[in-house]
């Protein structure tokens, strides 16, 4: 299977070349249809390794470092992530067969799109540090090219610049982490890294670098700032891939280093991961609530969901460090389940936002409204995605959150007091972020799709094409399937979990009524299927009885609105007025939100003005100082560019002498 997957990657790269060579009229269809086909093959290959139908034995290609070669290996963890990547890639490609036709400059998107897919697939297959980092850079740079595809927009250029800086920083951190993992002998193969022993200090340093490298790509607060700028700037199917899939590749990198290569870890590392996860989940959703750009809102929700995944990973680290394998299996399964879930519903939501963008050319929710009447199918799919991401039963988002909560409830068994107290607090943050996510998606769906159209473009919107709709409905169906029959997903995850913590969750398919149980001794259970059947039967029966006995006559009339219906759509609640109570409760502290009202004096006919100011403390506290330092340093170092040749030679001479002196003293 390893060979087949490498051939898939080669297929992606061939498609990139084809995108340049093919005539413009067919390039879009060929590239996306081709990517769809390749992604499907890769999905089947990855899933068959995960489910044990095939093996992914190591394959060494004679490229890369001459004494090392390029190692590729597909174990259960890689197979799971290959499946997630390929599933997202297949849906995004299919969506783009229709959506990509709107693209104004296809030659800026098409060559990079398959490369991006190939890069992501290679990262999760790589089994030595060199091929891992090269693939990682393929992924970063091709996605950067896609972010700046619409470079005419000033904001997109800025987003691209910040993304590039952060990607380079992240890659540097990973490079150093792998360098430390490889040790002085340069054992760059993953197998050799697993075998070598390290001091605790070195392990801590590796973990910190991995958190910076993988965390910045995944969007951990406070390294998240680039993400909500870059993800929305790309075309919508690429946004779906970046948010839904690329962040998962970063999660894979973290799992691979923290749970596999650098293990075993001390228990206190789990506290850092847990605290970062909790902070990320709440901050992500609070940022999202303050947005009125639909795609940026979705990108901030990616930050939130990454936080939820890291909470699961932190719990798994804590339980594993204390030898509680059963609880660790539960926490890790929850995290991996959420990886799958988030890739499903986030892709779905980005597809929906792409459909809205295609129909109205508008990302600002304040200019939309009432689209449910114009785009009923898109609205339905977006509603399903919103309900799933808000962790509402019986859809899939709730299952992984329920499992995370169950893992949190097992935390009193942990011996360390720090963890005992931290985990309930993180649980509160998780509950808070779930509730705020529901609030945020009431806002996103309500302001975009419900109410009255706020502008004429929204009133004239039309339903999107059938390719896009099929991709959205396929993912809607998968969200429902993973929510109704979670036991099968958990069983599919078992090999990956077993590989990492040595034990899986109890056998789920043996439970009555397709319910799931967290650990063997627990009486807690949840059955999405039963809940769904109950709600469907009671709801259907109610509708039947009410219509039979009470009649179904309806009359249409103007809105009641307590007797004062407002004539203009401008009096509706907007996204910022909807979020005002939450901004007032949380924002005054988190964002230093200030509201100012400017009332003209009596008699003056000037309009009153209301302004809200928000401050982004992550930007001001972390990014801006670094940026200004770099600016200052490069201004000073700029002088070095304009020296004479004599001075350059002198510089080289002194540098050489200095380094030789250091070497001599070192020996």
């Amino acid at each position: 299977m390893t060979l087949l997957l490498l051939l898939c990657v080669a297929g992606y790269f061939a498609l990139s070349t084809a995108a340049i060579l093919l005539p413009r009229s067919v390039a879009t269809t060929v590239v996306y249809a081709g990517s769809f086909a390749v992604a499907l093959i890769a999905l089947v290959a990855g899933a068959s390794v995960l489910l044990g139908f095939a093996d992914g034995a190591e394959l060494v290609l004679p490229i890369g470092l001459p004494w090392l070669g390029a190692h590729f290996l597909i174990d259960a963890l890689s197979a799971f992530f290959i499946s997630v990547v390929s599933l997202g890639a297949a849906a995004a490609s299919y969506f783009a067969i229709g959506y990509g036709q709107h693209e104004e400059s296809p030659s800026r998107v098409l060559p990079f799109y398959p490369t991006f897919l190939g890069g992501m697939t290679l990262v999760v297959m790589a089994s030595d540090a060199f091929s891992f980092l090269v693939s990682w850079e393929f992924m970063s740079l091709s996605s950067w090219a896609l972010v700046v595809a619409h470079h005419q927009d000033e904001d997109n250029r800025r987003a691209g610049y910040i993304y590039l800086v952060m990607a380079v920083l992240g890659a540097l951190a990973l490079l150093l982490a792998f360098g430390l993992l490889a040790g002085p002998d340069g054992n760059y193969a993953f197998d050799a890294m697993r075998q070598s022993a390290r001091t605790p200090l070195l392990t801590s340093l590796i973990l910190a670098l991995a958190l910076i490298g993988a965390g910045s790509k995944a969007g951990l607060v406070p390294l998240h700032v680039w993400l909500p700028l870059a993800h929305p700037a790309a075309p919508s199917h690429v946004s779906a891939l970046m948010s839904g899939v690329m962040t998962k590749v970063a999660v894979y990198a973290f799992i691979r280093i923290a749970f596999d290569l650098a293990s075993p870890l001390d228990w206190w590392w789990s506290m850092i991961v847990l605290a970062l996860g909790g902070l990320t989940s709440v901050m992500g959703v609070l940022y999202a609530l303050m947005q009125h750009d639909l795609k940026r809102l979705l990108a901030y929700h990616t930050v939130e969901n990454i936080g939820i995944i890291f909470i699961g990973l932190g719990l798994a680290l804590a339980f594993r460090a204390n030898g509680l394998a059963e609880a660790a299996a539960l926490a890790l399964t929850a995290a991996l389940f959420h990886v799958l879930n988030h890739s499903l519903f986030k892709s779905l939501l980005f597809f929906g936002s792409g459909a809205v963008l295609g129909a109205t050319n508008e990302r600002n929710m304040e200019h939309l409204g009432g689209l449910i009447n114009r785009m009923p199918y898109t609205a339905f799919a977006f509603l399903a995605g919103s309900a799933a991401i808000s962790a509402l039963p019986p859809l899939n988002g709730f299952v992984s959150e329920w499992m995370t909560f169950q893992a949190i409830f097992l935390s009193p068994a942990l011996p360390q007091w720090g963890l005992k107290f931290l985990v309930p607090a993180v649980g509160t943050l998780l509950a808070l972020s779930a509730a705020l996510a529901a609030a945020c998606f009431v806002k996103a769906f309500g302001v975009t799709f419900l109410g009255r159209a706020r502008t004429s473009v929204a009133a004239r919107a039309h339903e999107t094409d059938s390719f896009s709709l099929s991709a959205m409905f396929a993912f809607t169906a998968l969200c429902a399937a993973a929510g109704l029959l979670p036991g099968f997903v958990i069983e599919a995850l078992r090999p990956a979990v077993q590989l990492i913590v040595g034990q899986g969750m109890p056998l789920q398919t043996a439970q009555p009524y397709f319910s799931i149980v967290p650990i063997a001794a627990s009486q807690n259970s949840y059955s999405g299927l039963l809940i769904f059947l109950f709600v469907a039967v009671t709801g259907g029966a109610t509708a039947l009885v009410v219509h039979r006995l009470a009649g179904r006559s309806t009359r249409r009339s103007p809105a009641w609105d307590c007797g004062f219906p407002d004539p203009t759509p401008a009096t509706q609640y907007t996204s910022s007025s909807f979020a005002q109570p939450i901004r007032r409760v949380f924002g005054t502290m988190v964002f230093r939100a200030r509201e100012s009202v400017e009332m003209p004096p009596p008699g003056d006919t000037a309009p009153a003005r209301f302004a809200v100011s928000l401050r982004d403390l992550a930007w001001e506290g972390v990014y801006a100082p670094v940026a200004s330092f770099i600016g200052f340093a490069s201004l000073k170092l700029n002088h070095l560019q304009f020296l004479t040749i004599r001075r350059y030679l002198g510089l080289v001479f002194f540098a050489l002498v200095f380094l030789l002196l250091v070497l001599a003293l070192w020996q």
């Binding site: 909560f405 409830f409 509950a431 419900l450 309806t554 103007p558 109570p581």
Partner: protein
Amino acid sequence: MAVILDLISAVAQMLLVLLLAPLLTGIVRKVKARLTRRQGPPLLQPYRNLARLFRKEAVLAENASWLFRAVPYLVFALTWVAAGLVPTVAVDRPFALAADFIALIALLASARFFLALAGLDIGTSFGGIGASREVMIASLAEPAMLMIIFSIALIAGSTNLSAIARFMSSHFNVEVSLGLALVGFIMVAIAENARIPVDNPATHLELTMVHEAMVLEYSGRHLALIEWAASLKLLFYVSLLACIFAPWGIAEFGAGVSASTVALVSYLGKFVLGGALLAFFEVSVAKMRVFRVPEFLGAALMLGLLATLLQLVLRSL
């Protein structure tokens, strides 16, 4: 055969909560009226109101979408299922494994999600104000509820309501953390049910409405379903309170007729008492401003956190 019996018991429980729910609303209204020295409507008035609403035609705003028409059925079904899954008369009923404590709370969150969307559907400012305040209150109530669930799960060792009820009726002892959790639970329940002091179910002053503003555009059978769902939600919380903090008398599933009768009578007693206590509480406090609600719910969260920490410390002594 066993499946048929299971289904019959499930249907019986569902019908029990469905038919009792309006009575609870009637009890609260009656006791409130008597406490303020008014005659008050008859106990069965909520049933009459529902019947009248069901007979009327439903008036829809011109731009109402399919979602607006579907939401009453969805909210009713979700709330009804949640209320039906709480152990009332017997523990460990069939299908009790469908949802634990967390899943039941999440079912109500689903209902609220759709109701808030319906509030936004017509595009009126009252619908918007109701929806935006409702989600703000919910975002504070849910973490508080989770902390309370955590402390109860620490005490009883499970989030399965039947297991909690069985543990509480056999191992009950007065604990500080249980008391803290009880107070916090009641505070959250008051906020979730839109009762005084968080919201006023009887208000007619638009700017103070939260729940009522959200459903302002509903009429006829749709309004009847939403009001019934509100009664069911109140019954859900009273049943939950009875099941966790006062499970005495609750029977095992399949226990004999006498045990079941005792359980039913004790449940009805708790039911009436719960309604009366709520009415008493409501007449003794004043409604608070919307932006005082975060402090109220923050206090509930702190109580839950304190209960959890106390348990953690106690268990390791």
